[in-house]
Amino acid sequence: MKILFGFIRKEIYHVLRDKWVLLILIFMPIIQILLFGFALSNEVKNNPIAVFDASKDSYSRQLTDKINASRYFDLYANVSSQSEIEELFKSGKIKVALCIPPRFGEAFEGSAPLQPQIILDATDLNISNQINQFLQNIIQSFIKQKKPEVRPTYSIIPEVRMMYNPQLKGAPNFVPGVMAMIMLLVCVLMTSVAIVKEKETGTMEVLLVSPMRPSIIIISKAIPYFILSVINYFIILAMNKYLLDVPVKGSLLLLTAVSFIFILTSLFLGILISHTSQTQQEAMFKSLIGMMLPTVLLSGFMFPIENMPLPLQFLSNIIPSRWYYSIIKNVMIQGSGLEIIWRQFAILGVMCLVLFIASIKKFKVRLE
């Protein structure tokens, strides 16, 4: 036991000695969570639009004003030809254009008003579909307002309630996602270097001839980083609550328990990477180039997992942050309890155990 504590102390000194790294490790997650929590949102607003008004009457001007006044659109330019629209698209200035046909206003006197033509930049279909919907809504309500149509005899009116996030803010979705992503990557990166560094500096030999068992070495390597990550976790929670306005709705105890398991899982994953590497660079490359994009894309917070093709859905199962994200979302935003998240929790637990055992088994007691 005394040996273990001595060992842990050695590892803690290692971490504390590099003041720069310590500063980075503490402030990096804070800055990232604040930055992404405030800046990221899926909302499609302020889209630059060009209007080609071939009618130039009071109706077309009113429609243009109405579009510009909406939060979804910013009038970038009034143009006077199709080719100008093309140029604006090609220089990336606008996302959508509207062509108002000649005699737009006059047509309101007749039986059927003319429909303006919407031209969308469809390279980002997800966004262009939403832009189309918003613009159609504005145009149709304008036409309806100027020329009230026969009311449908029957009208079923959907009364829409936005659950858990009534203002459709970005934070409730992105904060849990970013949290899972940052914690995973930082933990893996921290420990992935831990063992390989001893190999590089030659101190590994000393460790191997000592009476320490592999499990003790691994645990003592993980502990300082575990403490650091737990500190980070609580700082992040505090910022979520006081700055980002995303408090923990469910049980704090449950969330903390899950987070501890998740942190351990990530740390063991890092140690496993460390075992399989010969140099620090190798370990860093494996944990960053190998894991950065998959973690961002397959956790489910950027792109919903159920929409992915099946092989990718399958692949996402082995990403620990996918399960953690799902749990934080449930506990933090929806306020769910253990009875809802036990499955994800169990999966994380198994992952943690498997990675721990693997990192002990992979520990080579001899230098090659």
Binding site: T153, S155, M162, I182, Q280
Partner: protein, 371 residues
């Protein structure tokens, strides 16, 4: 010049000797490029819908059938009351809840108007907006249908069609288009950025930098000899990615190939400049990689690839102007997907060039031969 070519030879030898790193940094991005852009199939087709039908009338079941037939929704279950349905939502088994009140048909016939409760899990805003729109459209069409049935003449007047929008630049409705060029840029960024950020600091750690410091090698030659090998590796990865873009994702290059290469090389130089700058600052590889990771993460998420820049608050929209990846994502989409020419992308290009020159100059200035 001779010194420079010797230096260059040294760098190439060093890189080619480090087999594992070379393999990771070429194979990993290519492998990821083959898989990851597939995540972007944002066309929601499997929205899970929980239904609470308190009416059980012919009209309520007609409405449900309409929803089923739309192809967007999967009926995840029929619940008895709202709280049961809410549990389903908490378990992520239902994204949308539709509650049809008792007396739905009767009220509709008598009052001509009837409310329906639609509750949407709004944590993911996009999903909520799209799901709500689909359901709203279906209900609107159902209204018209009922009206036309009751009064064929007046009904025909109200079914005024919306205009059909023109979708430019993406005739096949390819959802991958959004991500493919962007992910290629991110992969190139990661390889170039991480390699460059570790490079000089590795020489510091190993002590070989002392030999350079006492040699007559100029700072400029030293930094340039570090830049060129990475520039070549990044170009290689980009080129492989470009071929895969055509072969695997069926996205052909609309614009000019040379313009694209000019743009990506200016961009890579800015990333390498940043990497080398960090490398000159850092005391060890651990510090360097953490700083680079921190910055690349910010570049990646704020570049506008995943979430629109227009939706960000003002300070963030200002900040992105210092992110080279923001310009590159824009530029590669413009050239590749819209066929824009050099003249269209000149503003973005010059900003990137400015950042590249600035960063490389800083790296040269910050590299000191004396300690």
């Amino acid at each position: 010049m001779r010194i420079f070519s010797v230096l260059l030879k040294k760098e190439f030898k060093l890189i080619s000797r480090n087999r594992v790193i070379l393999i990771i940094s070429t194979l990993a991005p290519i492998l990821q490029f083959l898989i990851l852009p597939m995540v972007a199939s944002y066309e929601f087709k499997n929205i899970n819908l929980a239904i609470i039908d308190h009416d059980h009338s012919s009209w309520s079941s007609r409405l449900i059938n309409k929803i089923k037939g739309s192809g967007y929704f999967i009926i995840s279950g029929y619940e008895n009351n709202f709280s049961e349905a809410l549990i389903r939502m908490e378990k992520n088994e239902a994204d949308v809840i539709l509650q049809i009140p008792p007396g739905f048909e009767k009220n509709l016939v008598r009052e001509k108007e009837q409310n329906l409760l639609v509750a949407i899990n709004a944590i993911n805003g996009t999903k909520a907006a799209i799901g709500g729109n689909y359901l709203g459209d279906i209900i609107k069409r159902f209204n018209k249908e009922l009206t036309v049935e009751a009064m064929p003449v007046q009904g025909a007047v109200i079914s005024r069609p919306n205009s059909i929008p023109l979708h430019r630049f993406n005739p096949n409705y390819n959802y991958r288009m959004t991500l493919v060029p962007g992910i290629l840029c991110i992969l190139v960024t990661m390889i170039g950025g991480f390699m460059a950020s570790l490079n000089i600091v590795e020489e510091k750690e190993k002590g070989t930098i002392e030999q350079i410091n006492v040699s007559p090698i100029s700072k400029v030659a030293f930094i340039l000899s570090k830049l060129i090998p990475f520039l070549i590796i990044s170009n290689f990865i980009f080129s492989v990615g470009l071929i895969l873009t055509k072969v695997i994702y069926g996205i052909g290059l609309q614009g000019d190939l040379i313009t694209l290469y000019v743009a990506i090389n200016i961009y890579i130089l800015s990333v390498l400049g940043l990497g080398l700058l960090i490398s000159t600052f850092a005391n060890n590889q651990y510090q360097a990689i953490f700083i680079m990771y921190f910055l690349i993460m910010i570049f990646m998420l704020m570049s506008g690839l995943f979430t629109p820049v227009e939706s960000m608050p003002d300070w963030a929209r200002f900040m992105v102007h210092f992110i080279p990846l923001y310009y590159m994502i824009d530029v590669i989409r413009l050239i590749m997907l819209k066929g824009s020419g050099l003249i269209h992308i000149l503003p973005q290009l010059s900003m990137m060039a400015l950042l590249a020159v600035g960063l490389i100059l800083l790296a040269m200035l910050n590299y000191r031969k004396t300690t």
